[in-house]
């Protein structure tokens, strides 16, 4: 063949013209469902991966990247989005990008997917990736092998106790090799994760006052406080909108959840006079 591109037009026209022949060629059974063409460009809005790390420099032929997604509870609806982000990163970074799913909490779940499979019409497309169940590595955290992950110990246990928190604290405070600011950051994270399970009183028993003072200085806690403010404001706005307009569409809830405190405040003033969500530019 002289020009591979040049034949594209004919093949596309042929396939558009006789899709049924193509389906027969591939032995596809549509079970009587109608077929219609949907030649659409793949043009997705931006998505954010949870974390991405490059391994090796730009010119390193052995370079690759780690794409990390973590989940508290396995949600199979996320799988296709993980695949999309992983595939997008592979193009974007122009190097192999490995997806690693980190399942954080066992709970009552039994399956923690390591693949996304589509079977249709007798065909199959399969995407397989690596997955880690954090609780299976709890001992490595407790023994100090993975001391930096101590803030997650509370997730590894079905019924975490104050002793679990104490173990976290000791691992962070006594393990050698951490810089002071790293210890402060890890403590802040430990408190952040633990507050979902314990009362403030319980947290104060374990994480003492000097540590709390230390925590306030960390850049991470400042960031966290901004987030907390935004989250608080979002909750208020959602409540306000619900009481004014009843059940809110999912899109409105998502929109509000992506905003900051200032946005919420400016919207709050307008909710009063608005007759509909559309008046607020939310529909």
């Amino acid at each position: 063949m002289d020009d591979a591109l040049d034949i594209d037009r004919e093949i596309k026209a042929l396939v558009r013209l006789v899709p049924q022949a193509l389906f027969r060629l591939a032995g596809i059974n549509t079970h009587g469902l109608p077929i219609f063409p949907a030649d659409v460009p793949v043009d997705q809005p931006q998505h954010d991966a949870d974390s991405v790390f490059r391994v090796g420099g730009d010119n390193d032929p052995a370079g690759w990247a780690l794409h990390l997604e973590y989940q508290l509870q396995p949600d199979s609806r996320e799988l296709k989005r993980w695949m999309f982000k992983n595939a997008g990163l592979s193009l974007q970074l122009d190097r192999p990008v490995l997806l690693l799913a980190l399942y954080l909490y066992r709970g009552k779940r039994r399956t923690f997917p390591g693949e996304y499979v589509v079977r249709a019409g007798g065909l199959e497309t399969r995407f397989t990736f690596s997955a880690i169940r954090l609780w299976e590595h709890a001992e490595r955290i407790r023994t100090g092998d993975l001391a930096a992950l101590a803030p997650l110990l509370v997730l590894c246990e079905d019924e975490p106790t104050l002793e679990t928190l104490e173990t976290e604290r000791q691992l962070i405070q006594t393990t050698e090799g951490f810089e002071p600011h790293e210890r402060a950051d890890l403590l802040a994270i430990a408190v952040g994760v633990a507050r979902k399970h314990f009362t403030m009183e319980a947290l104060e028993l374990v994480f003492r006052e000097e540590e709390t003072m230390l925590l306030k200085e960390t850049s991470w806690v400042r960031e966290w406080m901004h987030e907390a403010e935004a989250q608080g404001a979002q909750e208020v706005i959602l409540a306000l909108l619900q009481s004014r307009f009843g059940q809110l569409p999912e899109s409105v809830v998502e929109r509000v959840r992506s905003t900051d405190e200032a946005w919420c405040r400016s919207l709050a003033r307008r909710v009063i006079d608005a007759q509909s969500l559309a008046d607020l530019g939310l529909e």
Binding site: D2, A21, L72, T125, L146
Partner: protein, 315 residues
């Protein structure tokens, strides 16, 4: 557990602070300093899939989509793009999407990939898809079972001959159960594919004059011409070829192509003049139909500022 969303910030911060621990957790052994955080935003450029078919209506819970890519020569660097497009379509169409790759020609290639594998440290991702080797189905085409795919028969053979073309033509013309317009379209496609392998003389010997007349009316060729005009493209191969044939000309493909370009340019200019000045006098139409492509382009630029045809020297 509380709200999963609310733990996100903590986990992200932890991973940022202690990437080495996460790597060790996964059994990845990387020297310190070799790991740097990268941008987490995924926003690749727009990509076009070759063909996509939706099976089942949007509301049907059994709905799915077939995404088709075809390749003359297997190219490994396409694999990551196919992976991306499959994933993108799955999210975009909101239906499970299966990738099927159609390898069109065996040639000297031995490997026709059906998976994309990424390897990093001890980790391995696989993306496994379906593929078809067209040449393995040549007999199904020849026997008529897949006669609609006859235009591709020429690709199934290592050294296609005039007989291959004749068989393609016979398969298509004898398929009287197919609508006439569809047969004509398939014939046009057969000529389009075959012209990569055969001289014009051979094509003329196989696809006769009456076929050419049929071709001129095909929706596919019409669409092709329309596309060339709309997009201002100056390709027009088929136009040139069809005109060349019906007018009994003997110019080669190159001349046919120029002819096609001029034809498209004239039609486009007539469209512009018509839109600007309404119904055009016969003399103007005649003048444009005599013009070459350069003249048409120059005139198109002047039309914008002109209020009357006379300003363009056309009346």
């Amino acid at each position: 557990m509380g709200d999963p969303r609310s733990i996100d910030a903590e986990i992200k911060a932890l991973v940022r602070i202690a990437p080495d621990a996460i790597l060790r957790l996964a059994g990845i052994d990387v020297p310190p300093g070799h790991v740097v955080p990268a941008d987490v935003q995924v926003s690749p450029a727009k990509h076009d899939a070759d063909n996509v078919f939706c099976v089942g209506a949007d509301a049907d819970p059994a709905r799915w989509a077939l995404y088709l890519e075809y390749q003359l020569h297997p190219t490994r660097r396409e694999l990551a793009r196919w992976f991306y497009k499959t994933a993108g379509l799955t999210v975009q169409l909101q239906r499970p999407t299966v990738l099927l790759v159609l390898y069109l020609k065996r040639g000297r290639n031995r490997r026709f990939p059906a998976e994309y594998t990424a390897v990093g440290g001890p980790l391995r991702n696989h993306f496994v898809f379906e593929s078809i080797h067209l040449w393995e189905h040549a007999d199904r085409i020849r026997s008529g079972e897949l006669r609609e795919l006859a235009p591709l028969l020429v690709l199934c053979e290592d050294n296609p001959t005039q007989e291959t073309l004749a068989l393609e033509r016979d398969l298509l013309l004898s398929s009287t159960d197919l609508p006439r317009s569809e047969r004509a379209d398939l014939l046009a496609i057969a000529v389009g594919v075959a012209r990569r392998y055969f001289t014009q003389e051979v094509l003329k010997a196989v696809f006769r004059e009456d076929d050419a007349m049929l071709l001129k009316d095909t929706s596919w060729v019409q669409e092709w011409m329309q596309e060339a005009r709309t997009e201002g493209r100056t390709e027009g191969r088929t136009e040139g070829w069809t005109e060349g044939r019906t007018e009994g000309r003997t110019e080669g493909w190159t001349e046919g192509r120029t002819e096609g370009e001029t034809h498209a340019a004239r039609l486009l200019l007539l469209d512009i003049l018509d839109a600007k000045f309404g119904v055009l006098p016969e003399s103007v139409v005649h003048r444009v139909q005599e013009a070459d492509e350069t003249w048409c382009r120059g005139m198109a630029r002047r039309v914008v500022r002109a209020d009357f045809l006379a300003e363009l020297g056309l009346e």
